[in-house]
């Protein structure tokens, strides 16, 4: 089926080469970065009210990071050569940084997870027998010191790793924004604001994900939802949402106000091809409404019943997950809806459901981290420290 076109397009410009997979990739790394920042707010910045989520946030970041490369791999025309980005990187390309950033962030995250769960691992190993004991003994890496001094050292190392992890998470995700922001051929991508916009929307999506997962997890475990934790998450979410929306609007308003030549294309793009996903989803439904709802939670939270606060935060978070997905879509797909002739548009793009890079593949990839998280939770319960307060990290 040939796409509907208007105006004049360069004949090679009618294809959407960067598909749903390239939408999913920044979406998933954004969730990683956001979740990680929440754990760091506790571990590094001492946000005690986020303690209930400290470990869970870390586990979430790890599970999502584990699949972050999958959409890329599925997108490649030759996935079997994908490893060459890491083995023989061509360093003039921003994309060549992927291997280094991804690998080093993964390593830091793994180390941090190990130090955070080390005491749990040792205790489980000592309590268990047979296979389970073997597994946990292996996970303990031969270190069985749980003395107060060792735990104190653990805490210091965790703080350092979490601190290193913050710029790493920013780099990993800022890099994704850079990939788009540094394409001078594309006026919808080419702006130094792009990495910053990506970063803030990453924080929004990661925190929103944790709000949802935390509430669901507490429901499943029958544990009451921590009021201070939700209130803190709502505050951070609101702050990052304000920053994120401001930057997203700023970029567009600058172009519109400057009457830059790009605006002829972008103005049309936003009001026609992307009118639903940009105006309705990214700006109003996923932007303005959560902004108001979270504003209510943050400003009037004192007078609020827990259930209302939880529900409002939950609804906002669901909308925000959609908002950030819409933002990724608008950047990635939107940037391919016009021709580089700057005078022609592709009218619609609907990804196929069953095709290789279609909706089903995207949903499947997004589903994997939740399975990983469930497994992680079985092996290393992330909320156990709530029952056993003293000396835990």
């Amino acid at each position: 089926m040939f796409p509907e076109l208007t105006g004049f397009l360069f004949p090679n410009d009618v294809h959407i080469h960067w598909s749903m997979m390239i939408v999913m990739y920044p979406y998933i790394t954004g969730l990683v970065a956001g979740a990680f920042i929440v754990s760091s707010l506790y571990h590094v910045f001492g946000a005690e009210e986020l303690k209930p989520l400290g470990r869970f946030a870390l586990a979430t970041a790890l599970c999502f990071l584990a699949v972050a490369g999958l959409p890329l791999l599925n997108h490649l025309g030759h996935p079997e050569r994908g490893i060459n980005i890491i083995v023989t990187p061509h360093f003039t390309s921003a994309m060549a940084g992927f291997g280094i950033l991804y690998a080093s962030y993964f390593i830091i995250l793994l180390f941090e997870v190990w130090f955070v769960f080390r005491v749990d691992i040792i205790e489980t190993a000592e309590r268990s027998t047979g296979f389970k004991r073997g597994l946990f003994a292996a996970l303990a890496l031969g270190v069985y010191d749980t003395s107060p001094e060792a735990r104190s050292l653990d805490r210091n190392i965790i703080r350092i790793l979490a601190a290193i992890g913050i710029p790493m998470a920013c780099l990993l995700h800022g890099y994704v924004g850079f990939l788009f922001g540094a394409v001078k051929a594309n006026p919808w991508w080419s702006t130094p604001l792009m990495p910053v916009i990506f970063l803030f929307s990453a924080m929004v999506s990661g925190i929103a994900l944790l709000v949802i997962l935390y509430q669901v997890a507490m429901k499943l475990k029958g544990v009451p939802i921590d009021r201070l934790a939700i209130a803190a998450l709502a505050r951070w979410l609101w702050l990052f949402l304000i920053m994120s929306l401001t930057l997203e609007l700023l970029e567009i308003m600058m172009l519109a106000y400057e009457r830059a030549e790009e605006w002829e294309v972008i103005g049309h793009l936003l009001t026609h091809q992307l009118s639903f996903s940009f105006i309705s989803l990214q700006m109003v439904g996923g932007g303005l409404i959560p902004l108001i709802l979270l504003g209510i939670v943050v400003l009037m939270g004192h007078y609020m019943d827990d259930r209302i606060r939880n529900t409002l935060t939950m609804v906002s978070s669901l909308l925000l997950l959609l908002q950030v997905l819409a933002m990724r879509w608008n950047v990635v797909i939107g940037g391919q809806m016009f021709s580089k002739s700057m005078s022609g548009f592709r009218e619609t793009y609907v990804p196929g459901f069953f095709e290789k890079e279609g909706v089903l593949a995207a949903v499947a990839i997004l589903f994997i981290p939740f399975i990983l998280l469930a497994i992680f939770e079985r092996v290393l319960p992330t909320f156990r420290h709530l029952e056993r307060e003293e000396g835990s990290v």
Partner: protein, 261 residues
């Protein structure tokens, strides 16, 4: 620059009779030589000498005032390079610019099957065709962004893709401001004009230059002072596409208009 032509105003006619005869006899001789003498695979013999890429810097000149929009170049390119349907290593655009109002631009099927007559009823002030292709830019963003170095510039100035190493990420397609690249649906790798590298390194010219009936397209060697393109670049007013992007295109245009995209 040494002038090879006796009449300085000769260029608009393109190929002089002498040059035409010279070229066709050379081509004929070449063809005979291939058919009669050379076994398959010894193509270096076509030019009679080993190709030295240090003595070549390829440039391309497109004279839009000559193009008649026949689309032969697009077909020839497709046939020569097995370009998949719906994808274009070269294409031809038509510009119809009314006395007042918006320009009308089209390139149906990349101009491969020519152009239907204008039926819009607009009062066309000027109209012309613009052949397009990869500009083989000196400072090209497409090779810069290739994460594995599969896209590269040869020493003789041609931007190529190594289909054996391309991972098919599509970053170069996004980075090209001219829409010259595409992902080949058969090989799943980036694809683009090669200036018929397999031909020009054997003493032949590109398929599009070869087929063009009006001499609107010329490929030349910057390192050869006697090459006619050097005289054009030295004496005529040439332009490149989207110069503001500073990619230093090596396709030079004669008779470009401000409406050209």
């Amino acid at each position: 620059m040494k002038h090879r032509h006796s009449h300085p105003d000769q260029q608009p006619d393109g190929v002089s009779r002498r040059e035409f005869l010279h070229r066709s006899s050379a081509a004929l001789a070449g063809a005979v030589a291939i058919v009669l003498i050379l076994p398959e695979g010894s193509a270096a013999g076509i030019s009679g000498a080993e190709y030295d890429w240090d003595r070549h810097t390829w440039v391309y000149v497109i004279d839009t005032t000559k193009c008649i929009g026949c689309g032969s170049c697009v077909s020839a390119c497709r046939a020569e390079n097995s370009v998949p349907e719906g994808m274009y290593r070269t294409w031809v655009e038509r510009y119809e610019i009314p006395v007042t109002g918006e320009a009308f631009i089209d390139s149906p099927d990349g101009g491969e099957h020519g152009f239907d007559p204008v039926t819009s009823g607009m009062n066309v002030g000027k109209g012309f065709f613009v052949p397009k292709m990869c500009n083989h830019c000196r400072a090209t963003p497409c090779t810069q962004v290739c994460p594995v170095g599969a896209s590269f510039t040869t020493r003789d100035g041609v931007v190529l893709v190594d289909a054996e190493h391309c991972i098919g990420c599509g970053y170069c397609v996004q980075a090209c401001p001219f829409g010259s690249r595409f992902i080949n649906p058969t090989t799943h790798t980036a694809d683009k004009c090669t200036w018929c590298y397999h031909r020009i390194t054997k003493g032949l010219t590109t398929a599009c230059v070869e087929i063009c009936p009006v001499g609107a397209r010329q490929l030349g060697n910057r390192d050869d002072p006697d090459d006619p393109v050097n005289e054009i670049l030295a004496t005529r007013r040439v332009q490149v596409l989207q110069p503001e992007l500073l990619t230093r295109p090596q396709c030079y245009y004669l008779g470009l208009d401000m409406e050209v995209r």
